[in-house]
């Protein structure tokens, strides 16, 4: 039985394969490709004919071709010359053709503004469509035609649609406000803010998402607008679009810094809690108490706790914003316990988007530099994988450098050694060895261990190391030695061996070692003259940098010997006769004829010092103590941020830079008054749900006229109308519209027309539209820049050829 079924199954399966093949063949003839192929051969004239066709399918085909040319940078046909042919199709009944014409207009409207104006009528008509998507599209199209004289019409449309029951349309209204703001900020700012504050009260998360975009783009500093909405925004944070979540968090961080009192850090280790209580320090990781908790304002707490659900977010932008919020507003403890370091690590390791990945790792590096405990437990996650690319590996290694502590150093060091030895990439080797060097900071034993290891690598692998790597190794050894030369004499002698047996061949590396001997001459003088003695033979074969350093070394030795002899024999000793001086003089003599400018210069400068017998000055110059590299603090004392920042993107640092708490006194004084008391919300949903969804759009609008009651919108009764809510928000913000201008607009014919439309049933309305556009066509006032007094009459002027 089973067998027979599986036979049938396989038979059917092969049948499926055949059908699929057939489909592939068929689609190649009938599908998209064939169309593309066909349309490519259209000539200019054919295209024009198609555009002027009465058949909407042909027009669509032509528009598709136009858009393809625009999108593919095809230069064979200049589509700009079709402007008038294209634009008149805006009155097409097909929404798709409308969209395509609009897309064309986006690109070319500014080139021929007068012709572009022709499209306005047709677009305006669709503002009253029953489909919210079409209404939203019309508003978008209208506001995207950037012709100055259109502003009043756009503003009018905004006022009309601001109470639209569909959140899609209301959000489009917000985007339109943003466009108006960018476009005519000076003239319209007040109107825009008026309308905007009304929309802030909206209850729909979609609209609020758009509200936040506009806030970010237009009024980032008008934080006081948020007072009444703060709590609601925190509540619906999860429901917002993930981009808006990020914007909201960024905005609220700034809001909290300005309007919420700084939280207090309470020491809970001692019994007397009231005494040990300090405001949150401005610098991260500077809390003195071993155990503490954070006492914060209730509103701040609300915000912080609402972030917790966002740790499940997939959008790295949200995660990074949340991290920033914890970083800006709370203590390291809270940040650690929030789970966000975990999420940040996971998302950074898992992301396949290289740009995002590197920025996330940079953020981790930044946090980790400020407080290494945040990511301590994830240290193994930052070990590089073979498939990681170079920048990622380097960032991971740099993060590792910040995470090293006594417990993990052994393991990490072992891994790093393997990387240094087996990696092929020069940059990775250098970064890994620098990370190793930072392990040396932990203890003296490690310091000498690492040094020994590097010397061994140089000894054994001299042929395989490039100059840059060798230079880096020598630098690391140099740095480690110079931290405490007395302790590492053994290695210094080893280095001398490296020099004299020509293990190190690279010029800059040799120069580095020679320089190092100049530095330790003050501590261990004995070995140094021997080195000069040995190297003097091969002086001519050295590279320019080594030659310079060798001369400098011999000069330093002279200076030290002068000091020693002074101490011992009270000036009776003649420096001029010493062997060290003779060596210097010999080297100086050779250096005089050097072909390298730097060497000659060095010789001139040194001989002038010694010839004039200014040994004291020479001592000052040559024996000056060098700053210890390890003493460099990770945190700069003054600026609150990481100083050593070559590896972190500059913008990222600006993004994370600490915002100071700047709560003005009157905010603190007015504590009794609840500043963030929620303002009433406008809930269109309740209203909408009370109607059958089929025709809610039209019925709701009829309410505008019929229902003029004065109910408060937050009431639970379900018979609210947009007109009512409009009244309410006017009062809630305490501002009023310029009634004058509104009246003006409403007295206009188009407004009348649209209200009329709202009253009529959708089906009827459609008929009306058709009648209008097809029957009227006397005027040809294409240059009608004014707000077009009688729009319905001149609707499709100039476009009749296609409509008739």
């Amino acid at each position: 039985m089973v067998d027979s079924i599986s036979q049938i199954a396989s038979a059917l399966e092969s049948a499926k394969a055949i059908t699929l093949e057939a489909a592939a063949v068929a689609s190649s003839k009938l599908g998209e490709s064939s169309y593309t192929h066909y349309s490519k051969n259209l000539s200019t004239q054919q295209l024009r004919n198609l555009l002027n066709s009465r058949n909407s399918r042909e027009v669509k085909d032509a528009m598709k071709r136009i858009l393809s040319i625009l999108a593919s940078n095809d230069t064979s046909i200049d589509i700009e010359e079709f402007f008038s042919d294209v634009v008149k199709n805006i009155s097409s009944d097909d929404i798709k053709v409308k969209r395509m014409v609009y897309l064309y207009l986006l690109r070319y409207a500014e080139k021929d503004q007068n012709l572009a104006l022709l499209s306005v009528n047709a677009i305006q008509k669709t503002l009253g469509d029953s489909n919210p998507d079409v209404r939203a599209f019309s508003l978008k199209a209208l506001s995207d035609i950037k012709i100055p004289s259109l502003t009043p019409i756009v503003l009018l449309s905004v006022r009309k649609l601001i109470v639209d029951p569909s959140p899609v349309v209301r959000s489009e209204v917000l985007y339109t406000l943003m466009k108006l703001y960018r476009w005519k900020r000076n003239e319209l700012e007040e109107d825009i803010i008026d309308l905007y504050t009304g929309l802030l009260c909206d209850s729909d998360p979609k609209v609020i998402s758009s509200v936040l975009v506009v806030f970010k783009e237009c009024f980032p500093d008008r934080l006081e607008l948020l007072h009444g909405h703060y709590r609601y925004f925190c509540q619906i944070l999860k429901k917002l679009d993930s981009w808006a979540q990020s914007y909201l968090i960024e905005t609220l961080i700034r809001y909290c810094k300005r309007y919420i009192i700084k939280p207090m850090v309470v020491d809970i280790s001692s019994s007397d809690r009231s005494s040990n209580c300090v405001p949150l320090p401005d610098k991260y990781n500077q809390i003195m108490f071993p155990v503490y908790e954070l006492r914060m304002d209730k509103d701040l707490e609300l915000f912080i706790s609402s972030l917790k659900i966002l740790r499940f977010s997939t959008n790295p932008v949200v995660i990074i914003s949340c991290c920033n919020a914890f970083f800006q507003l709370t203590t390291p403890n809270d940040f650690r316990n929030s789970g966000f370091p975990d999420v940040l690590t996971n998302i950074a390791i898992a992301s396949s988007n290289v740009g995002v990945k590197s920025l996330l790792l940079q953020s981790i590096l930044l946090y980790s530099k400020l407080d290494s405990t945040l990511f301590q437990q994830f240290n193994r996650e930052f070990l590089p994988f073979p498939s990681d690319d170079t920048t990622i590996v380097c960032l991971k290694l740099e993060i590792l450098a910040t995470l090293i502590n006594d417990t993990n150093v052994e393991f990490i060091l072992r891994e790093l050694k393997k990387i240094v030895k087996h990696q092929k990439n020069e940059k990775i080797i250098i970064v890994a060895s620098q990370t190793m060097a930072s392990c040396g900071k932990l203890s003296v034993t490690l310091e000498s261990h690492i040094m020994k290891w590097f010397i061994k690598v140089i000894e054994t692998e001299k042929s395989g190391l490039t100059n840059n790597i060798l230079d880096c190794f020598v630098n690391i050894i140099r740095e480690l030695v110079s931290a405490n030369p007395r302790r590492h004499l053994k290695f210094i002698l080893k280095l001398a061996d490296l020099l004299t047996t020509n293990h190190v061949r690279a010029d800059n590396a040799r120069a580095g070692i020679i320089w190092l001997f100049g530095e330790i001459a003050g501590i261990e003088f004995k070995v140094c003259p021997d080195i000069v003695r040995i190297l003097i033979n091969g002086f001519v074969d050295e590279g320019p940098e080594s030659r310079r350093q060798l001369i400098l070394l011999s000069a330093k030795l002279v200076s030290y010997e002068y000091d020693i002899s002074n101490e011992n024999s009270n000036g009776s000793y003649n420096v001029e006769d010493s062997r060290v001086m003779k060596m210097f003089q010999y080297l100086a003599y050779l250096g005089q004829f050097d072909d390298n400018y730097g060497v000659r210069d060095m010789v001139r400068y040194l001989t002038s010092l010694f010839d004039s017998g200014k040994y004291e000055i020479a001592a000052l110059l040559l024996q000056a103590p060098k700053p210890n590299i390890w003493d460099k603090p990770i945190l700069d004392g003054d600026s609150d941020f990481v100083e050593d920042t070559e590896d972190i993107d500059h913008d990222l640092i600006t993004y994370h830079s600490y915002i100071p708490w700047d709560v003005s006194d009157d905010v603190i004084d007015s504590k009794t008054l609840d500043m963030r008391e929620p303002l009433p919300l406008k809930d269109y949903n309740k209203f909408k749900k009370s109607f059958s969804s089929e025709n809610y759009v039209d019925t709701s609008n009829s309410f505008v006229r019929d229902n003029a009651s004065e109910e408060i919108p937050t009431d639970t009764t379900s018979t609210h109308s947009p007109s009512v809510t409009r009244n309410s928000f006017t009062s809630s913000t305490g501002k009023k519209y310029k009634l004058q201008s509104l009246d003006e607009f409403f007295s206009d014919v188009p407004a009348m027309r649209s209200t009329k439309k709202y009253n009529s049933l959708p089906k009827k309305k459609k008929i009306v539209t058709v009648v209008e556009s097809s029957s009227e066509g006397e005027t040809d006032s294409s240059e009608d820049d004014e707000t077009s007094e009688d729009e319905s009459e001149t609707s499709s002027s100039g476009l009749e050829s296609s409509e008739d």
């Binding site: 975009v213 396949s352 994988f385």
Partner: protein, 541 residues
């Protein structure tokens, strides 16, 4: 604010450009500018190019589609704007396009055939340079507004698919476990369970923004979940101190390798990243409850896409961690992403956990001259996995002991000669420090493959002489080793279906329907597991 968008192939040849204003530059113009400010070598590496004081171009490379997405951004006033927005947006767009066209991968042809749609999609997503947030970034919303053309292909395809489903349904009733398309994985065919009502529904009004309002009635209701796990592992092989003489009995070793060999291997670090994707063809507004058997893995904090109810997840999974995970979601229509999770293998001290189907081992210093190496790949048999795909073993040779004195650098030119190879073919670089053992596209499970080779050192004779001479010259170099190249690292890549590496399994998928909607008698549910070994490195150094 985003000025313009471009899609190019991986060599940056323009495929599509979206230029929403007169001032937006065409890609050829932009490209000239980008080239002028970046070095040629950096072009492929850099993801972001600063063009002017306020202008920058960002790039996202989509690995699946092998396309580059570019956008031009002007950033004039907002310093405090998160700087990775552009990359994330481009990635999102890539996903949207794949979901919109219902494809696993986009082809250039698909894009060029749909210039008009692409332009409209971009226009719908981006409004005046900012992403539109009224749900416009959900592919189902876009499908509502910009409908896809249903051409003949679709029709025929769906017919074929239905046929296939009928077939597999029959197969299920006869108690064989098969799956759609690929016959691996498990399938559930439970009639939908309880009729709980969680959220209210109002006509065809939108309930969640990601679900289309105009979902047609699917004749056949189906939901599929694909589990895809990518694994990265680095193992340290412990040094063998006692060298074995003669040839090893490799076969016997192979059979018992999981017990013996692995004890010598130690996991250095590794992780598993899981992605759950789905395809839902359900009517109404169903809430789907997914029950996972964690197999002892800690999912950490998973990352959920919008359709998952995080609050429920938190309350459902408070106590019984590690055993089961319950995820409730309201799936979008068509293809969607459900969640991502990461399983860290670093935290707990696993003794010698063997991940995946394949265990692999290698030996050096075999043979008479101790210059032979042998790799044993043991693909254990499995009832769920039939075959392993694209198995490649990458071999790296290094100098193991580096004590002897060399006169010339880079002299080591050992030649690799293959003595015995049971499967696939072997290819290696010219410089012989790397080699690839490439298997056939499909290798059946339950196979043991062996590769034995020998490293012939050209300079063996030279070395001998050299050794003698150095011995004579200086007595310093006491330990002079024989040949130097040994196999030190192998990196294995493969993928297979049918089983997840972490062992996470689906216990059940329950579709909880709204009371009002018509009850389907039978919802077809399919699960597919796909495991990808991205990095599986075993090293001996």
């Amino acid at each position: 604010m985003y000025i313009s968008f471009y899609i190019t192939d991986s060599k940056n040849g323009l495929i599509f450009q979206y230029l929403p204003s007169a001032s937006a530059p065409t890609f050829s113009d932009l490209w000239v500018k980008i080239k002028s400010v970046t070095a040629e070598s950096d072009l492929t590496l850099q993801n972001e190019v600063k063009i002017g004081k306020y202008l920058k171009a960002s790039k996202y490379h989509s690995d699946i589609n092998n396309l580059n997405y570019w956008c031009l951004i002007s950033d004039q006033k907002n310093e405090k704007v998160s700087i990775m927005d552009s990359f994330v947006l481009l990635e999102t767009i890539d996903n949207i396009l794949m979901e919109y066209f219902d494809k696993d991968a986009l082809t250039v042809k698909k894009l060029t055939n749909n210039y008009d749609r692409l332009t409209m999609i971009f226009n719908y997503i981006i409004d005046d340079g900012e992403p539109q947030m009224a749900g416009n970034l959900y592919s189902n919303r876009i499908k509502d507004v910009i409908p896809l053309q249903n051409d003949l292909t679709k029709f025929i395809h769906s017919t074929a698919k239905n046929l296939g489903n009928v077939v597999s349904n029959t197969a299920v009733t006869s108690a064989t476990s098969r799956n759609r398309g690929s016959y691996n994985g498990r399938m559930f065919n439970n009639p939908s369970s309880s009729l709980s009502s969680s959220s209210s529904t109002i006509g065809n009004e939108e309930i969640v923004p990601w679900r289309s309002t105009k979902i047609g009635q699917h004749a056949k209701e189906e939901i599929y979940l694909d589990f895809e796990e990518t694994v990265q592992l680095v193992y340290q092989k412990r040094h063998r101190h006692a060298k074995r003489g003669g040839t090893t009995t490799s076969l016997s070793q192979g059979y018992i390798n999981s017990s013996i060999n692995d004890s010598r291997m130690q996991l250095v670090h590794g992780n598993i990243h899981g992605y759950i994707k789905g395809n839902s063809l359900l009517n109404g507004t169903p809430v789907v409850e997914l029950n996972l058997n964690n197999n002892g893995c800690d999912l950490g904090i998973p990352r959920f896409y919008d359709c998952v109810n995080c609050e429920d997840y938190m309350s459902d999974n408070e106590d019984k961690k590690l055993l089961n995970t319950k995820v409730k979601f309201l799936p979008p229509d068509g293809k969607f992403n459900l969640m991502e999770y990461s399983i860290g293998l670093n935290s707990k001290q696993q003794s010698n956990n063997n991940f995946g189907l394949i265990s692999i081992n290698f030996e050096n210093n075999l043979g008479r001259n101790e210059d032979e190496f042998e790799i044993t790949v043991n693909i254990s048999g499995s009832s769920k996995v039939e075959k392993v795909k694209n198995l490649i073993v990458d071999l790296q040779f290094f100098e193991s002991q580096i004590h002897e004195e060399r006169t010339e650098p880079n002299e080591h030119s050992g030649k690799i000669k293959i003595i015995r190879n049971t499967h696939g073919r072997f290819s290696h670089d010219i410089d012989s420090v790397r080699g690839n053992w490439i298997f056939d596209v499909n290798t059946p499970t339950g196979t043991i493959a062996i590769l034995r080779g020998c490293i012939e050192n050209d300079d063996n004779d030279n070395l001998q002489k050299e050794r003698n001479s150095t011995d004579e010259k200086e007595g310093l170099e006491q330990i002079v080793n024989k040949h130097t190249m040994t196999l030190q690292t192998i990196n294995v890549k493969y993928e297979h279906e049918g089983q997840s590496v972490s062992g996470i399994k689906v216990n059940s998928i329950d579709v909880i329907k709204q009371p009002r909607s018509s009850l389907p008698s039978n919802i077809f549910k399919g699960v597919k597991y796909l495991s990808k070994m991205v990095d599986y490195e075993i090293r001996e150094y």
